[in-house]
Amino acid sequence: MPDSKDSFSPELNKEIGSYHPINQTKDSIMNLLISFGFEIIDGPEIETEEFNFDMLNIKKSHPARQMHDTFYVNNKSKVLRTHTSPVQIRSMLDNDPPFAFISGGKVYRKDDDSTHLPMFHQIEGIYVNEDVNFAQLKHLIFSITQSIFGKDIELRFRPSFFPFTEPSAEVDILFSEKNEWLEILGCGIVNPKVLENCNIDSKQYKGLAFGLGVERIAMLKYGIPDIREFYKSNLDFLNQF
């Protein structure tokens, strides 16, 4: 029989809530990059075309600047930033090299379908110093991706095109179960024009830069098949993280 003197109290299960999986992924990567020596910088989500495009060597004629790709606000006076790169431009203008910055946050593109969202999250990093090169960039990308996906991953670097880096690369990771290469990030050596735009002597300094989509990393990391799940605010989804 239960002991009448002691009251019986089983463990009180308290449900814990959740840190959004996108912010978990973003903050894990940001914290990793801090441990590598990067410093977090922040900036506005509503930007001028000058900082979002011109300073990054994205010409007026570039398709990304068309109304069908970018959200314009207040009678076309500003844009919803299409990447976090303008944050880096602002910090490059305010600082003398060497420096290593990371910015992370929401970015906007005029897309809305099963694989593209009008808002998503990016993390971008830039390191400017005198002796920076592409081989070091590869080392950094290996360090980041191995921390996220494990030591045994296989990566593929292939040339690509971004107006703000040259040489540019896209990096794919091999998912052995499906024997499929999936793109995970873009990177490159900072285009000397971008350095010059920020009053940095491109003969003396070089930069390496990378950018990744947080949703994509989170989808691959957690095995989430549909990007739209992140923004349904479904408790059955959120509670899994």
Partner: protein
């Protein structure tokens, strides 16, 4: 761009394997997919020079022995007298017209021409248009064929002075805007330059006398036109990305050669309008700079060989300059040369070099991270919402080109987003909802008027345990949670149920405040519990309703409790997704304990029936009753 392996193989002495080719194209920066004998290549926007068989062939010169035996018409061509005025020389610095008349329209095509249509499943049009399309595929130079008999006497290239209606050769009616680059016959538009010709002068099955236009249009003059007018134009795609300024006449001479293979040519004459001849460009040869950019040494010969094979002219004696080929308008500085070298060597073959960033930084927990950990510990779930809303306030920023009219403004409060999230979850039978969102909010002054806020919404049961199951979130509960993060009195709002479309009746509480106003009282040293790289595997979410069943156990022997709990917790069934003690009653006088257990069932494949749920419940009941001292009153 789609190419067929057989078409490429005809230029290459070695045997070409499609999988090897695909892999090599990836190495060179050309993403691709194989579909039978076709490789569909995604060419980056800076590499317009690769949008042809010839362009891809050039890319492979470092890896294969390539035949260079393009057959063209090499004889002199009589000059054509044409009443042409180029009023847009900046947009089109050189343009050529070839007048060609044939005796008979060919009924059959040579095998290479026939195979182009067959292998790529392309529909034939008429002889001249077919040859034009083939030339564009082979050499990357778009040409346009006018039926000469349908043309007026004059031809003018100009920026349109007024708006006008235009019917394309594919029968689309469009309203051209002022300033579009067009060809006119002096009054009417007959061709949207570089994009698509007009119906009125288009070739047909009977066309024997045609005027073929071969031009170099500046990309800026063409960009955006095909999207603006919803025209599917391969010519525009190529001009937008830049064609080879030295290809205009070669393309026409290739055209003549192909026509000559198919029919007797009766008349042939050419008109050239070159206002600004192509000026060759060169770049200083700075091998050491390229090595600095890439981080490894390259042999002298290898450096030159790679570039020469890509069409550059680089040699040790050549006054230290590298001549850039006319088709590579993308090459500007040493970084571009570095990319060329690296592509051919293969990015994957570049050995990584240790990178040490010379700064030491340590991560100290930021206010927001602390806040999220605290709220998650208190059962709140973080959500992220889009900022778009239909609701305009005095302070709202208006989006000039919204996705739709319901998303025309940026939200100035988090309230509506969180109400929607609450409603969504209540309609999914959730009875304890605690959500928060942290976001920037913007007002009309743009970035000057930015605030970072947190919104918290909560409704329903406080928790799913025996102490809190029958207690509901109220103002006191919200105050208790908020007291951990601030000394200030925040306004906690009760939200009217009329704003929520669900069957729930529990009270809804909301608080919103500036992140800056948070004054942390709780110590939180780590976020590792929530933020880490540990494996979490997502399980698919069911869209079917859940069903619950409650069982009330009467325990008369305390030693049985642990056995009962163990049995209940370890009971496995796919449709049993959650279980918890929702009620606990002890009668110390009678020495009995009553335990209320809730079991929640849900299937990923269908709506469950009572029968299916009862089957599992009966099994639970049966196994529980085998434990000594356990009863289920009523059963």
């Amino acid at each position: 761009m789609k190419i067929h392996i057989d078409h490429l193989s005809s230029f290459i002495n070695n045997r070409l394997n499609i999988n090897d080719l695909s892999k090599l194209l990836f190495q060179l920066g050309h993403e691709n997919e194989i579909d039978g004998g076709i490789i569909d290549i995604d060419i980056t926007p800076n590499r317009g020079d690769c949008l042809s068989l010839n362009g891809i062939k050039r890319e492979l010169t470092n890896f294969y022995e390539i035949k260079d035996d393009l057959q063209i018409f090499e004889k002199d061509i009589k000059e054509l007298k044409l009443d042409f005025t180029n009023e847009a020389e900046e947009d089109c610095p050189h343009i050529l017209f070839l007048l060609i008349e044939i005796e008979d329209i060919p009924l059959e095509y040579s095998s290479y021409l026939e195979n182009y249509f067959k292998d790529l499943s392309i529909k034939k049009n008429n002889f001249f248009t077919d040859v034009s399309n083939y030339i564009s595929y082979e050499l990357g130079q778009p040409t346009h064929c006018y039926d000469f008999e349908k043309m007026g006497k004059r031809l003018v290239l100009e920026r349109a002075k007024k708006e006008s209606n235009f019917k394309t050769l594919t029968n689309q009616e469009i309203s051209l805007k002022q300033n579009d680059l067009v060809f006119t016959d002096g009054s009417e538009v007959i061709n949207l330059a570089g994009v698509m010709g007009g119906r009125s002068t288009s070739c047909d099955m009977n066309s024997k006398k045609v005027l073929i236009e071969s031009a170099f249009f500046q990309p800026e003059a063409i960009i955006g036109k095909s999207i603006k007018y919803d025209l599917n134009s391969e010519a525009a795609y190529k001009f937008e990305r830049g064609v080879d300024p030295l290809m205009t006449e070669t393309a026409l001479r290739r055209f003549i050669h192909i026509v000559e293979e198919h029919s007797k040519i009766k008349k042939l004459s050419i008109f050239r309008n070159i206002s600004s001849p192509y000026q060759s460009k060169s770049i200083e040869k700075e091998k050491s700079r390229v090595e600095d950019i890439l981080g490894f040494k390259i042999e002298n010969n290898k450096f030159d060989e790679i570039l020469n094979n890509l069409g550059f002219v680089a040699s040790f004696d050549a006054a230290n300059d590298i001549l850039i080929p006319s088709f590579r308008s993308d090459i500007v500085d040493q970084n571009h040369i570095a990319e060329e070298i690296a592509r051919i060597i293969g990015y994957d073959n570049i050995p990584p070099e240790d990178l040490k960033i010379p700064f030491n930084r340590s991560h100290s927990l930021k206010r927001e991270e602390k806040l999220k950990v605290y709220l998650a510990d208190n059962g709140f779930n973080e959500v992220i919402n889009y900022p778009f809303t239909s609701e305009e306030t005095q302070n709202s920023i208006c989006i000039d080109n919204p996705l739709d009219s319901n998303k025309a403004f940026l939200r100035t409060s988090l309230l509506n987003s969180l109400i929607n999230n609450l409603e969504y979850n209540e309609r999914r039978q959730k009875d304890s909802i605690k959500l928060f969102e942290i976001s920037n909010l913007y007002g009309v002054e743009g970035s000057q008027n930015q605030s970072r806020k947190i919104g918290m919404i909560a409704s329903g049961r406080i928790d799913h345990n025996y102490r809190d199951f029958n207690r509901f979130i109220d103002r006191d509960h919200m105050i208790k949670v908020l007291s951990g993060i601030t000394d200030n009195d925040f306004y906690i709002q009760e939200i009217s149920r009329s704003l929520v479309d669900s069957k729930s009746k529990t009270k809804i509480y909301y608080a919103e405040f500036n992140i800056e106003d948070i004054n942390f009282k709780v110590k939180n040293e780590s976020i590792d519990k929530y933020v880490n790289f540990e494996e979490t595997t997502f399980t698919e979410i069911s869209d079917y309703p859940s069903i619950y069943r409650d069982l009330s156990f009467l325990v008369k022997d305390s030693s049985s409790i642990e056995i009962l709990f163990k049995a209940l917790e370890s009971f496995e069934e796919e449709i049993l997704i959650e279980r918890f003690i929702f009620d606990l009653y002890q009668d110390t006088k009678k020495n009995i304990i009553k335990i209320g257990y809730r079991f929640i069932f849900q299937s990923k494949e269908k709506t469950l029936t009572d029968l299916e749920v009862d089957k599992v419940i009966n099994a639970i009941v049966k196994s529980s009753l085998t434990i000594d001292g356990i009863e289920i009153p009523g059963i």
